[in-house]
């Protein structure tokens, strides 16, 4: 295997004299092939992660009540569009300033719109493909927040928060690691974003949920938890499977290269591990809810699969399949305990986003040193804490400002009648009420 590893390099060196004549050659050079495959990985990974937006939309639409479905879907469409625009406008260049361009070295990048009309740098990848791919991660972070705050947050204040999250909060904290900032210098390891995307989204959601308050009627005066079941578990399940599929791009394409035998094998291993973690998370929740409640809870199984995926996201390459199994299974277990625990704290998280993304995100981040050399539990915790504190505090401030100025909560009457009629004047299932 070692000899084969050096083959592309040797071939590339041997071809240096002929590179000048590359334009006349019929076939791409090895460097050009590497560029093409790297770019292809970003493009495929990019649209797979894009597809996760559909997954979130269906999952959330299915777990809210009918009277709130249209609003929830509108939030999902809106947040994705805002993420795409903000990431172009300032997000990408805050996150990837490039060496020597930091405004505050290792902490805050540059402020400018992203330009994709750049020269082709053979052996690398298309700049446009990297922008496209990374944009999807930014959008994913935002969609985590919309699930938690469903059924009582107002549409426009939420979208304004998304502007801040996608344009400023996410790009800054992600730059600390993926942009070459101080976390990566420290040895923090987060392959595809258990902390940078999932825990970050979870912290923003937690801040929002605390400022927003629980839904009316969710917690009785005596301290009982009153279920408000979702309207369509078929959609919720579809959404989960869509997210599961998209995650292959989320983790797989984070290898960031596919032009060598090693790289493409790594992508394949990541796909296999990612899938195993999801499966293990789902089964863990399946068994645990049966044992704890005497009946399986489908919504917990769905959450379990997603928690498994989040858990493997910080280190999807290095574990064995068995490693991916127990890492994902613990994620599933976490969710089954965390959901009722949040209810005990009277933090109303409609879809379980905080257990799935924040808590499982911490677990995924923490467990990396078990299989990845050169990392340590201490560094992982520091990295998680740095991102967590930053995102939580800034989000808390943003939500408090929005609450004090625009107000973030729909009126009591609007919440009872359903946000669809008050925020949008449009129902998701009009035939069932008006006939």
């Amino acid at each position: 295997m070692t000899k084969i590893k050096y083959l592309p390099l040797a071939a590339a060196i041997a071809m240096v004299p002929t590179l000048g004549a590359a334009q006349d050659a019929e076939f791409a050079t090895l460097e050009q092939t590497t560029f093409i495959f790297n770019t292809l990985l970003f493009l495929i990974g990019g649209f797979l992660v894009f597809w996760m937006a559909a997954g979130f939309a269906m999952l959330e639409a299915g777990l809210v009540r009918s009277k709130n479905v249209t609003t929830q879907l509108t939030k999902n469409m809106g947040l994705f569009g805002i993420a795409a625009i903000m990431y172009w406008l300032i997000g990408y260049n805050i996150m990837y300033p490039g060496d020597g361009n930091w405004i505050i070295e290792g902490v805050f990048g540059t402020i400018s719109p992203k330009d994709i009309k750049t020269d082709i740098d053979a052996g690398g990848y298309s700049n446009a493909s990297d922008f496209f791919f990374q944009l999807m991660f930014c959008a994913t972070t935002a969609s985590i927040v919309s699930g938690t705050m469903a059924e009582r947050v107002k549409l426009w204040p939420f979208l304004i928060f998304v502007v801040v999250l996608t344009g400023i909060i996410y790009p800054i904290e992600a730059s600390w690691q993926w942009g070459g900032g101080f976390l990566s210098a420290m040895g923090f390891s987060d392959f595809a974003g258990s902390t940078l995307v999932h825990a970050a989204g979870g912290f923003a959601a937690l801040a929002g949920a605390i400022i927003l308050g629980p839904r009316l009627g969710k917690y009785s005066k005596e301290g009982r938890v009153i279920p408000l079941p979702g309207s369509n578990l078929a959609l919720a399940t579809l959404g989960t499977f869509i997210l599961w599929m998209g995650w292959f791009g989320f983790n797989g394409a984070s290898q960031l290269a596919m032009g060598t035998l090693e790289d493409v094998d790594a992508v394949a291993q990541i796909f296999a591990n990612t899938n195993m973690a999801a499966a293990a998370g789902a089964i863990a929740a399946l068994i645990l809810t049966q044992v704890m409640y005497g009946k399986v809870d489908l919504t917990m199984v769905l959450n379990g699969a997603l928690a498994g995926l989040v858990s493997i996201t910080a280190g999807p390459l290095d574990p064995t399949l068995f490693g991916a199994l127990w890492i994902g299974a613990v994620g599933g277990v976490i969710v089954v305990f965390a959901v009722p625990f949040l209810d005990k704290l009277k933090i109303d998280d409609v879809v379980g986003a905080i257990p799935v993304h924040l808590i499982a995100g911490f677990w995924g981040t923490l467990v990396v040193p078990v299989y990845t050399e050169g990392t340590s539990f201490v560094t992982q915790i520091i990295g998680f804490a740095a991102v967590g504190i930053f995102v939580f505090v800034i989000s808390l401030i943003a939500w408090m400002i929005l609450k004090a100025t625009l107000g973030i909560r729909a009126s009591e009457e609007a919440e009872i009648n359903g946000l669809d009629t008050s925020e949008l004047g449009m129902e998701a299932y009009p035939e069932f009420s008006n006939g």
Binding site: V225, I226, D297, M300, V339, P340
Partner: protein
């Protein structure tokens, strides 16, 4: 003329409809309702929180028949809807003051 209101178990609807048609009725209204009588609800659990479902889905039939047919129709519904278990339903018989056929303007028993 008599208005017959009956609540039955939803899965019995097809059997009752067939029996009524054979008995010669010419009109029937059906509504999906929830309710409880002797049959109480059950407990469910959602994301770790228990809740009691108090109402049971039922189907309500409403039909207007001539006085002479009322007893026979009540018997037909009773027999075809019965399972012998709790929750089979109830039948109520009310007097009807007037009946009108919208298309022709006929009134009384001719309009049934």
């Amino acid at each position: 003329m008599k208005l017959i209101i009956a609540t039955i178990k939803p899965f019995k609807l097809e059997q009752v409809r067939e029996a009524l048609t054979e008995a010669g009725i010419r009109g029937l209204m059906v509504t999906e309702v929830k309710g409880f009588g002797a049959q109480s609800g059950h407990t469910e659990i959602y994301r770790g929180a228990e809740y009691v479902v108090n109402f049971v889905p039922k189907v309500k039939l409403e039909l207007v028949v001539a006085d002479s047919m009322a007893d026979q129709i009540v018997e037909v519904i009773s027999t075809s809807a019965r399972t012998g278990k709790i929750g089979d339903g109830k039948i109520f018989v009310l007097d009807v003051n007037q009946t009108v056929r919208v298309r022709t303007g006929e009134t009384g028993e001719d309009a049934i």
